[in-house]
Structure formats: structure tokens, C-alpha cells
């Protein structure tokens, strides 16, 4: 399935207007059955020379060139490698092979409640989370009211985080991650938890960022919300980019393929 290939970059070097540039990026995870759990076991195996490494490729030769100010959607089935791609871009994971080039400050929202502590209050968690994102104490103080206001969690701001619903946690996380205009914003499945009103606020904020020149990457299983927010989309399957280009076309092709798979299974069932 080859569509427009704007994102299957053929360039060897990042361009003037690139924000994210990936060249032949692969990620090989060690297979879970091969991970040795204890130090004792490791030493025994080391002596017996029984340590073998089998691996699983979650990303295979990914080439990607995302321009500044682009809002890019990423779709694909479970286990396709979407989160792995986000980790590589956010520097959490150093790729096994290939080159990752990023121009600008990244604000990642890879998982709900990453960097939150359940026993600390919402307010204390804002400090903790923002510090982990690399902001200074002064910067946080300046934005504190802004963050609390945007999250709309009211008096719960003084309550420990474990008393929050998952939607409230998402609000707080989004609110902290987007309090400062990032050059690059990464969102992995975080918008799906909020209610409609909040989602609209998020979309507003993201379009504002785009107008200010930020780049946004959105991973989502909700085709609608991708169509709503993203101009371009890439489709990942088994660690490879199988489609990329304008959102309508890619989503169309993706949905057709899903339909085809489904009817195949339905055929087997009945």
C-alpha cells in the first residue's frame, strides 16, 4: 500500500524546515523469554556460556521527516510500534540502529500519570511533573495558576492524586505538559480519556500551538479524532510505515484494511 510518500523521506540529511528527522531507525527489543531475572541466574549462565540474545524488531528501518508546524497523526493496530516510535523521538529510547535528529524542545505525554506520585497532592504533583519536564522552580510558580485553571479540577488540587479519576489525571497531565509552548508535543493515547468539553479545549490549544509553529504528534486509535486534528497521518504496521500522506486517504485505506480483516474473521466464525 503506497500512498503519498511525503513522510517516507528519501532525504539523507534533515532539511531547513525539519523538526523531526529519522533515518533508517530500527529498534530491537530483547525477547521476553530471554530476559534473565536474577543476578544469580545471570552469573550461572555466564559461567556456562549460555547467554544468547534473541531479539524482536519493534521498528524496522523507519524513515520520517516531520516539518515544523505540522500536526501528524500516527495510527496502527495494537503492537504496531507506535509507542516505541514516540519513545525514540522523545529520547527515552536510543535506537538500536539508525539516526534520530530532533530540532527543538520536546514535551512528551507518553503515558497517563508518568511522573505523578499517587500520595502527593495535585499541586505538589504539578511541581514534580514540571520539574521532570525540565522547568525551573520560578517558571513553575509563574504558570501554577494557569495550569490549575486549565485542568479544571477545582478543590481536588489539594487532594492526593490517588483520589483522582483517570480523566482528571489526564487533564492535569495535559495541562502541565502544555503549559509552556513546546517546539514539539508528543501525545500517546492521552486525549481519549477526557470528556468532550475538555477534548475541545485540548484541540484549541493544539491549534494555537500549531499557529505558533509547534509540531504535534498524536497517536490515537480514534480515527475520528485523528481526522479532526491532523493534516497528515502515517500508518504503522508491524514496525513499518505502510502508508503516509493526507489524513483522509491514509485513514480510508486503514479502515478498509481493518474491514477486510474483520470480514475475514467473521467469515471464519459463522
Amino acid at each position: 500500500m503506497i500512498l503519498h510518500t511525503t513522510h517516507n523521506s528519501t532525504n539523507n540529511e534533515p532539511q531547513q524546515d525539519s523538526a523531526i528527522f529519522l533515518k533508517d531507525v530500527s529498534v530491537h527489543y530483547r525477547l521476553p523469554s530471554e530476559t534473565i531475572k536474577t543476578f544469580k541466574e545471570y552469573m550461572i549462565r555466564l559461567v556456562k556460556r549460555e547467554i544468547e540474545r534473541r531479539s524482536f524488531s519493534a521498528l524496522k528501518n523507519i524513515n520520517l521527516d516531520v516539518k515544523k508546524g505540522e500536526i501528524l497523526g500516527i495510527i496502527g493496530r495494537n503492537g504496531a510500534g507506535k509507542s516505541t516510535l514516540m519513545k525514540v523521538i522523545s529520547k527515552v529510547l536510543i535506537p538500536s540502529e539508525g539516526r534520530v535528529w530532533i530540532n527543538g524542545q520536546i514535551s512528551p505525554l507518553l503515558q497517563l500519570g508518568a511522573g505523578f506520585h499517587p500520595e502527593l497532592t495535585g499541586r505538589e504533583n504539578i511541581y514534580l511533573n514540571a520539574t521532570l519536564l525540565g522547568h525551573s522552580h520560578n517558571q513553575i510558580e509563574q504558570k501554577l495558576n494557569n495550569i490549575i485553571e486549565f485542568a479544571e479540577i477545582g478543590d481536588f488540587i489539594e487532594a492526593p492524586l490517588r483520589t483522582y479519576s483517570s480523566g482528571m489525571r489526564a487533564r492535569l497531565g495535559f495541562s502541565v505538559a502544555t503549559a509552556w509552548k513546546p517546539d514539539i508535543l508528543l501525545l500517546d493515547e492521552v486525549l481519549s480519556v477526557g470528556d468532550v468539553a475538555f477534548r475541545e479545549k485540548c484541540v484549541d490549544r493544539m491549534s494555537y500551538f500549531r499557529d505558533q509553529g509547534s509540531t504535534v504528534l498524536i497517536v490515537s486509535h480514534s480515527i475520528e479524532s485523528v481526522q479532526e486534528t491532523c493534516q497528515n497521518t502515517i500508518w504503522l504496521d508491524k514496525g513499518e510505515i505502510v502508508g503516509s500522506g493526507e489524513t483522509v486517504h491514509v485513514c480510508d485505506a486503514y479502515q478498509k484494511e481493518m474491514q477486510r480483516k474483520k470480514s475475514k474473521i467473521d467469515g471464519k466464525l459463522f
Binding site: 527489543y29 531475572k37 543476578f39 529520547k91 522547568h135
Partner: protein, 271 residues
């Protein structure tokens, strides 16, 4: 200001980490603060506890060992110095390991310099070290020990203690990320190590074993020995003593730093 990250142009991981830490110095400050505040907020007795705990241990040791050994001069001061140095080292390495295991879950979702958790824990340990000097001075006053000008050199000894603790903390934390059982093995090792070091038993006891070999191969002996010379004996030691202590503690730090940073790229692959 543009920040460009290029995985193809990374410097050696050990250098890269130093640069990253400098950028995230505010994070380190916050983590240290959190460690200390969390410790003392729990109870008003928090501060007192840091001071009373080594005093209690010292008291027991003095009573027990005065029956067993010929008690040397200033035995109370001797034991307390040992305990303060040792507990700073053992607590900060042990806690580093635990905070690294906590942090490694975070490192799966967010980028921060990976040494942050270990570094901040060891720094917080040094703050506790300074606090626990207060009871030491009390005991000195009671037993008539006079501080001499050599005590002004204490900050250098603290740099050695810090370097050595950080080096060991980095080594054990790396292992603990990959092998959870290390967190259980290490305290056992620490206990054995403590008895092999002149912390509570008099120095003579160790000097008699294998001509003092146990002392010379034990880097922690150099550190605690330097502390006692400066604070208790009150003279400035020979150059050899400085060099031996400096080389062993900086050596461990460099080894630990390189080992940690070389393995750190794999942390996120290991879940």
C-alpha cells in the same frame, strides 16, 4: 535558542551525561530537597532522630565493647566517627539503589538524565552527614576532645566520602535495574563489609589480622581513617594518606560513572 539532538553525533555517554546533568541542575536541586523534606516532615523528631540514632548505637557499642576490649582513649568519639561515616555511605548507596528502581519506571516514559536519581540521593545523604556532626561535637565536648585547625580540612574528606559513595551507588544501582535480587543481596554485603572495616571495633583488632592486610585493600578504611585523623587526632596527615584516599575514592567514582552511563541506554529496553 535552538536545541538540536542528533543520535548520530553523541559524544561518549559518560561526557554526554555530564552535560545533560548541568542542563537539569534544577531537577537535581528539587529531588534533593524532596528527599530531605520528606525525611523531616514526617515527624518533628525527624532531625532529632538523625542525631540520636548514631548516638544510641555508639552507646551500646561502648558499653558492650568495654568489657571485651581494652577500651582505647576516646573510644566514644572513635565509634561515633566511624558510625557517622559508615551510615552515610551505607544509607546513601542503599537508598540510591531503591530510588533508581523507582526512577527506571519513569525513565520509560520521560527523558531525564539517568544519573539524577542516584546523584540526588547521595547528595541528600551528605546533608544528613553534616547534620549528624552535631552529636559528634557534643560527645567531643563531653569527653574533652579539642578540635584542632586540621578540622578545617574536613570538606576535602567529605568530597572523598561523596565520590566514593556515588561511585558505589552507581555500580549497585545499575545492577539493581537489571536484576531485582541485587536489592536484597547488597544489604547483606554491606553488613559483612562493615565488620571488615574499623567502624566499631578498635583499630588494633584489624592491625593484628594478616599484618593489617584487611585495612589496606579496603577503600573505606582510608576514608574513615582520614576523618578520625582530622577530627579526633587533630593533625594534618602525610601526603601519602591524602593520595591513597583520593585515588581510591575518585577511582571508584570514575569506574561507577562509566559503567552506569554505558549501560544506561539499555535501561528503557528492560521492562
Amino acid at each position: 535558542m535552538t536545541t538540536i539532538y542528533d543520535s548520530a553525533k553523541r559524544k561518549h555517554p559518560a561526557i554526554e551525561e555530564l552535560i545533560a546533568l548541568w542542563r537539569y541542575r534544577d531537577l537535581i536541586y528539587q529531588l534533593v530537597r524532596r528527599d530531605i523534606v520528606a525525611r523531616y516532615k514526617r515527624s518533628i523528631l525527624g532531625v532529632a532522630w538523625t542525631m540520636l540514632n548514631p548516638l544510641g548505637t555508639m552507646l551500646i557499642m561502648v558499653i558492650v565493647f568495654s568489657k571485651v576490649f581494652n577500651r582505647p582513649d576516646n573510644y566514644a568519639g572513635y565509634v561515633l566517627s566511624g558510625i557517622i561515616c559508615w551510615s552515610t555511605f551505607s544509607q546513601s548507596t542503599n537508598m540510591s539503589m531503591r530510588s533508581m528502581v523507582w526512577g527506571s519506571r519513569l525513565l520509560n516514559q520521560i527523558y531525564v538524565p539517568k544519573t539524577s536519581f542516584v546523584l540526588s540521593t547521595v547528595l541528600a545523604g551528605m546533608v544528613n552527614f553534616v547534620l549528624s556532626l552535631v552529636p559528634l561535637f557534643l560527645i567531643f565536648a563531653f569527653s574533652g576532645v579539642q578540635l584542632r585547625p586540621s578540622a578545617l580540612l574536613l570538606p576535602i574528606q567529605m568530597i572523598f566520602l561523596f565520590s566514593f559513595s556515588l561511585g558505589v551507588a552507581l555500580l549497585v544501582s545499575t545492577l539493581a535495574v537489571f536484576f531485582p535480587d541485587v536489592a536484597d543481596l547488597y544489604p547483606v554485603l554491606l553488613t559483612a563489609w562493615m565488620y571488615l572495616t574499623p567502624i566499631i571495633m578498635p583499630l588494633e583488632f584489624y592491625q593484628e589480622i594478616l599484618d593489617g592486610l584487611l585495612l589496606y585493600i579496603n577503600p573505606f578504611y582510608y576514608i574513615v581513617n582520614l576523618f578520625r585523623i582530622l577530627m579526633l587526632d587533630g593533625f594534618v596527615p602525610h601526603l601519602q594518606t591524602w593520595i591513597a584516599t583520593g585515588v581510591s575514592s575518585f577511582g571508584i567514582l570514575i569506574i561507577g560513572w562509566i559503567f552506569f552511563t554505558l549501560k544506561a541506554d539499555d535501561f528503557a529496553y528492560n521492562t
